[in-house]
């Protein structure tokens, strides 16, 4: 295989607040007021979502899940942006935002249903203020845009009341940036000055296609032509992702309109458990990115700068083991839905013709199993 060789150096203007070596740095536009305890909490988030992810991969291998889309390498982008949300903000994920789901209090087991094939979603998007996973690439960016239109109509932007002013956070990938829907979302958000932050995790790959297939200029630059700011952030730096997302969500809540954040990161694992990246990318690429690991740098900071005790790390590790156990045992226990349930919730009011199909099916199922 000809190796696909590319520069992975970030742009010089990428926002970074924590170097890969774990050193705190400042950025003039994105100051971050954060305690070491808060950073430790982020560390815990990062570790736990990585654990959920690796357990899910194992469960898929054991046949307990049909598929899994791993977030490995993207934990900082997801935890940073997810923790920037307020409870009453609304987030619209793709199918890979397990870290954001975690921040939105979606139970780890609930997250598995879709990939196990026991349901098509699983949580209550409005209770969690976290939309269901959307698989059609880019479609959710329009849903987010429409939700933001509703926020404006509800008078929930720019009032100055922090409990009221609401922002919307829309996730999508580098590949998705090519979809018409995503660009239409930009059109609407720009023209309507909507309270929305578009959060693009540029993990360098859309399955087998490198980001250069989608654009020859950095993706964050797309925003300007639609009339709103774009910024690139080190997507492996949880502090930078937090600070940048927080600021732009604030702008949105304050009626200053939309923004685009490009989190420059890397998909360390295959696209999904079905994928074989050896066919299309060099292993050396992942090796390079390993040096920028989103968790290692926080651990380094906590150890060296914040002088966090080893007990803390041990406690997180223990919690992580518990989580693993919870996911493993819980996943196997998720019951299959009943066959007749395929007729549920197709309509709010089941039409007669569908009721008949259900009844016929039920009696058929009975006759076969009898």
């Amino acid at each position: 295989m000809t190796e696909h060789v590319r520069a992975v150096h970030p742009e010089p203007n990428m926002v970074q607040l924590l170097t890969p070596e774990g050193q705190r740095v400042e950025h003039p536009d994105y100051p971050l007021d954060i305690t070491d305890d808060e950073i430790a909490a982020l560390y815990r988030d990062l570790v736990l979502v990585r654990r959920i992810d690796s357990e899910a991969i194992a469960l898929q291998r054991q046949g307990e899940l049909g598929l899994w889309a791993s977030l490995l390498g993207q934990e900082a982008a997801q935890i940073g942006s997810g923790r920037a949300l307020k409870r009453h903000d609304m987030a619209f994920p793709t199918y890979r935002e397990h870290g954001v789901a975690w921040c939105r209090d979606v139970d780890a087991l609930t997250l598995l249903g879709l990939y196990r094939g026991t349901n098509l979603g699983g949580w209550d998007p409005l209770a969690n203020n976290f939309n269901l996973y959307t698989i059609v690439i880019g479609a959710q960016t329009l849903h987010a845009t429409g939700y933001a239109m509703g926020v404006v109509r509800d008078g929930a932007v720019g009032t100055g009341d922090p409990e009221r002013d609401t922002a919307v956070l829309a996730f999508f990938g580098d590949g998705a940036s090519s979809q018409g829907d995503v660009n239409e979302a930009f059109v609407w958000a720009g023209a309507g000055n909507l309270p929305i932050v578009f959060f693009c995790q540029n993990n360098q790959w859309a399955i087998s296609e490198p980001v250069e297939r989608q654009s020859r200029v950095p993706l964050f630059q797309r925003a300007a032509g639609f009339g709103f700011p774009g910024v690139r952030v080190d997507g492996n730096d949880v502090l930078a992702c937090l600070a940048v997302t927080r600021k732009h969500l604030d702008n949105a809540r304050n009626a200053q309109g939309p923004s685009l954040i490009e989190a420059f990161t890397y998909r360390m694992n295959p696209h999904t458990t079905n994928d074989d990246p050896r066919r299309y990318r060099a292993l050396s690429e992942a090796e390079t990115w390993k040096l920028k690991d989103p968790i290692e740098r926080v651990r380094a900071y906590l150890t060296r700068e914040a002088r966090v005790e080893p007990e803390f790390f041990a406690a997180v590790e223990a919690e992580s083991l518990e989580m693993a156990e919870y996911v493993r045992a819980g996943c196997r226990a998720i019951p299959d839905p009943t066959p007749e349930s395929v007729f549920d919730n197709v309509y709010v009011d089941l039409p007669d013709e569908l009721r008949e199909q259900r009844e016929e099916f039920a009696s058929f199922v009975k006759s076969v199993s009898a």
């Binding site: 609304m90 349901n119 098509l120 979603g121 699983g122 209550d124 998007p125 409005l126 209770a127 939309n131 269901l132 959307t134 059609v136 479609a139 960016t141 329009l142 849903h143 987010a144 845009t145 429409g146 939700y147 933001a148 239109m149 509703g150 926020v151 404006v152 109509r153 509800d154 018409g180 829907d181 239409e184 979302a185 059109v187 609407w188 023209a191 549920d344 919730n345 197709v346 309509y347 709010v348 009011d349 039409p351 007669d352 013709e353 569908l354």
Partner: protein, 339 residues
């Protein structure tokens, strides 16, 4: 209810006050829905200041404001996609697609999102979205302005698909569609917008019911939207020859009101379906298949279909030949009576 009589001369009398066109009935129905529920918003291209290219939303932006009657950027996928988001936020969007042929850029959002989200969410969210589509031909328009894409939606589980054929139905059905917690694709026979002024009935018929608009005993003619008028004219003509045609206005293409259809065909033994969409894999095929399955021994003849041909909609100079016109319908009834 706000005083609607003074604001706009085009909508100056109450809906029940006298005969109105279908266009006017829809306008009044939309107005009523907006008054009844502040969460109803109208969105689409040119629906605001212009009142829509057919003026169906005439005066509504003026009276309800730009926040509730939204002139959108020119992008159908976004019109539907943002409606999904508005629905998630508790709104009840009414999307206008300017012409039938322009619904396709929004097709993905309709088929993969609007139709499925309630199901995906195990019922935890609802998609009370109404998608209004002026449809059908006969107005001398250019390409993409005369199509009948209803089957694409009827074949999509999760959607309700309806069409009105009279001002009264238009008035009531649009309100029912908006009030429905299921998404509704609402086909308006544009050719009938200004065809006749008729009174509004005091109450509507449920959205998923067909209606016998003319009783008869010899043959059942099933129509919807623009072809109901053709069917009624045919029935009058046939009467002269002693054939009593029962005309059913289908009203709902999905779900289908099988009891009404079966009751009729069991009496008449013969059924002709008439629609403008191409014949193959059209609404008529499903009706024919189901009626044959469910009333096999009642049929004196196979169900016949009088429809658009399996070609693209033709240049307008040929549309009256292409459309299922009176002559073609009468010919089919002749054939079925001879079976």
């Amino acid at each position: 209810m706000s005083d609607i009589s003074s604001a706009n001369p085009a909508v100056s009398s109450a809906p029940l006050g006298g005969p109105v066109t279908m266009a006017r009935a829809l306008n009044e129905g939309l107005r009523q829905a907006m008054e009844d529920d502040p969460k109803v918003v109208i969105m689409g291209e040119d629906v605001g200041r212009l009142g829509g290219v057919f003026r169906i939303t005439d005066g509504l932006q003026k009276d309800f404001g730009e926040d509730r009657v939204i002139d959108t950027p020119l992008a159908e996928s976004a019109i539907i996609g943002t409606a999904v988001g508005l629905a998630l936020r508790g709104y009840r969007p009414v999307c206008e697609i300017q012409f039938d042929g322009f619904v396709f850029p929004g097709f993905d959002q309709i088929v993969s999102q609007v139709a499925k989200i309630h199901n995906r969410a195990a019922g935890l969210v609802r998609m009370p979205i109404t998608i209004r589509i002026p449809f059908g031909g006969g107005i001398g328009a250019i390409e993409h302005h005369s199509e009948s894409p209803e089957t694409y939606f009827a074949h999509t589980p999760g959607l309700r698909v309806v069409s009105c054929s009279s001002p009264s139905d238009a008035y009531w059905m649009i309100q029912e569609a908006i009030a429905s917690d299921d998404p509704v694709v609402f086909f308006e026979p544009k050719r009938q917008y200004h065809a006749a002024k008729l009174p509004i009935e005091p109450a509507g018929t449920p959205l998923d019911q067909a209606r016998v608009v003319r009783p008869g005993r010899d043959v059942t003619v099933v129509a919807y939207g623009p072809t109901v008028a053709t069917a009624l004219t045919a029935a009058e003509t046939l009467k002269v020859d002693g054939v009593e045609a029962e005309v059913i206005d289908l009203r709902s293409m999905s779900p289908l009101d099988m009891p009404t259809l079966l009751d009729s065909v069991r009496r008449t033994g013969r059924m002709v379906i008439v629609h403008e969409a191409p014949q193959s894999f059209g609404i008529g095929s499903e009706i024919a298949a189901r009626v044959t399955e469910q009333a096999f021994y009642s049929l004196e003849a196979p169900v016949l279909r009088v429809t658009g041909f399996d070609t693209p909609y033709p240049p307008s100079r040929l549309e009256h030949d292409w459309l299922p016109n009176l002559d073609r319908l009468l010919d089919a009834v002749d054939r079925i009576m001879e079976f």
